[in-house]
């Protein structure tokens, strides 16, 4: 097996089995603030136990190992065809080893060939940059949380949401309320204000690459992130929708330009089983460091 393929299998294993530190810290903070004896507390205790167990056994944190999203930053000249081929083989191998569930279904025939390979699976996003470094990030996004994502077109009359940040706030909180516990809360929101329908969702997912503890460099978006986080946690939805104080672990918001006629707000929801890791690679494909 090529060095690159080995590295990508290891990236998949680690992403599927080990929750990143920033997410685990946020879950622990949630656990501390829930009241003793509540079902919210016992839900978070099971979640915490699950995180430890998955890491110890090197097995999937969640059985829905999700959509497989690679984000690759690479120098000009990296052979993307070869990289993609190695990534596909790595996915096949990781599936055989049980790090990924046989999770990819032909939408027309309903057939699942057990390899996780097909149109759009895995999904690779390449970004060339003016640097010699290769960095590959992986997000595994389960279907339960993907299904509660929402896209709003502003203005929205029933929600009294206009084309401004207050309107964005209203629709994002509406998405939290609609989701209840169905996205396996406590979750994290990735939001894009603007873009078109496709890039809006695409950029909303890129927000999940940010560290949960970072702060938005744009003061207006930072304020909106903090406001939505604290307001959502006052709604009493709680872990799994059982009620409680921990509804969201984080909110990350970015913006993209739009055409004058459109004003989309795209909200992606990530479950507590927030699977995201990344590694820097040497030219020969070897892992030289971890990004989270």
């Amino acid at each position: 097996m090529s060095r690159l393929r080995e590295s990508l299998v290891e990236l998949i294993r680690r992403t599927s089995a080990e929750i990143p530190d920033d997410v685990q810290s946020a879950i622990l903070r949630g656990l501390e603030q829930e009241k003793e004896g509540t079902i919210a507390k016992s839900a978070l205790e099971i979640i915490e136990r699950n995180i430890d167990l998955a890491k110890r056994k090197s097995q999937p944190i969640c059985q829905d190992t999700g959509s497989i999203l690679f984000y690759v930053d690479c120098p000009v000249g990296l052979d993307q065809v070869e990289f993609e081929q190695e990534a596909r083989e790595a996915v096949k191998e990781a599936t055989r080893l049980g790090y990924l569930r046989q999770n990819s279904v032909d939408s027309i025939t309903g057939k699942n060939d057990g390899t996780n390979l097909g149109t759009g699976s895995p999904n690779l996003h390449f970004h060339q940059h003016a640097s010699d470094d290769i960095a590959v990030r992986l997000v595994l996004k389960g279907g339960g949380c993907e299904n509660v994502g929402a896209q709003f077109s502003l203005p929205n009359t029933p929600l009294e949401a206009n084309r401004d940040l207050d309107g964005c706030r209203k629709v994002i909180l509406e998405a939290v309320h609609q989701a209840q516990g169905r996205g396996c809360g406590p979750g994290v929101l990735g939001v894009c204000i603007g873009g078109d329908r496709a890039t809006g969702y695409e950029f909303s997912k890129r927000e999940f690459l940010r560290n949960l503890d970072d702060r938005n460099p744009d003061p207006k978006l930072d304020e909106l992130e903090q406001d939505i986080l604290s307001t959502a946690n006052e709604l009493g939805i709680g872990p799994m929708g059982f009620g409680g104080k921990t509804t969201l672990l984080g909110v990350k918001i970015g913006a993209a330009n739009r055409v004058p006629a459109s004003y989309f707000v795209s909200v992606s929801y990530m479950c507590w089983a927030f699977r995201r890791h990344g590694a820097t690679l040497a030219d020969n494909g070897e892992i030289t460091g971890w990004l989270y």
Partner: protein
């Protein structure tokens, strides 16, 4: 208080359960998700060896590996989102005598009405807790319709011990999901 449930479950035992009760489930459970619900609702027959009377159906698509000795090993087995089965669940529950449905995210009015009429509960497991829940599966007894539906969608027959869940919809018309939805909606209206 924590209740212990083991299939086959009587209607009386189910009627004792109330929203918010924590339960530990032992005995046999069958998995079934989207493909199985649609198949049964379309009039498909239960495969030989699958008996849901007084039984528990688990909305789950596990990761199961075949070991070298031919035995199945469950490596991850948390619940999947249940609401997708809302169009089918109530009818299937009544037709096959199901007393408990394990899943996540809760279900809606049609299922709640069937729970009340037939005597059944919805048992909410912790979504994503695939390892803790896989540890509760002590044995894979069999698998049905693996060829037709593929591994995540097949009917897996598990023996479980002390599988933790919370009653979030009971047989008295109460639903924690409805309640939290309404209360969080009021809280949001004040903060809009």
């Amino acid at each position: 208080m924590t209740h212990h449930l083991s299939s086959p479950i009587s209607e009386e035992a189910i009627r004792e359960l109330k929203v918010g009760d924590q339960v530990l489930i032992s005995g046999v459970v069958f998995t079934g998700r989207d493909a199985v619900h649609k198949y049964l609702h379309d009039g498909g027959a239960l495969p030989d060896g699958v008996n849901l009377d007084g039984g528990i159906l688990y909305h789950c698509g596990p990761v199961v590996l075949k070991e070298d000795n031919g035995e199945w090993k469950v490596t991850a087995a948390g619940p999947t989102t249940s609401i997708r089965e809302e169009p089918y669940q109530g009818d299937i529950m009544k037709q096959f005598g199901i007393r408990g449905v394990i899943g996540k995210g809760g279900m809606a009015d049609k299922t709640l009405a069937a729970c009340q009429e037939h005597g059944a509960v919805y048992l909410h497991a912790i979504g994503g807790a695939a390892q803790v829940l896989a540890e509760c599966i002590t044995k894979v007894r069999d698998v049905h319709m693996l060829e037709e539906f593929g591994s995540p969608e097949a009917i897996w027959e598990f023996e479980v011990r002390d599988f933790p869940a919370v009653v979030t919809m009971d047989s008295h018309g109460e639903s924690l999901h409805k309640d939290i939805h309404a209360r969080s909606g009021e809280a949001l209206a004040k903060r809009r």
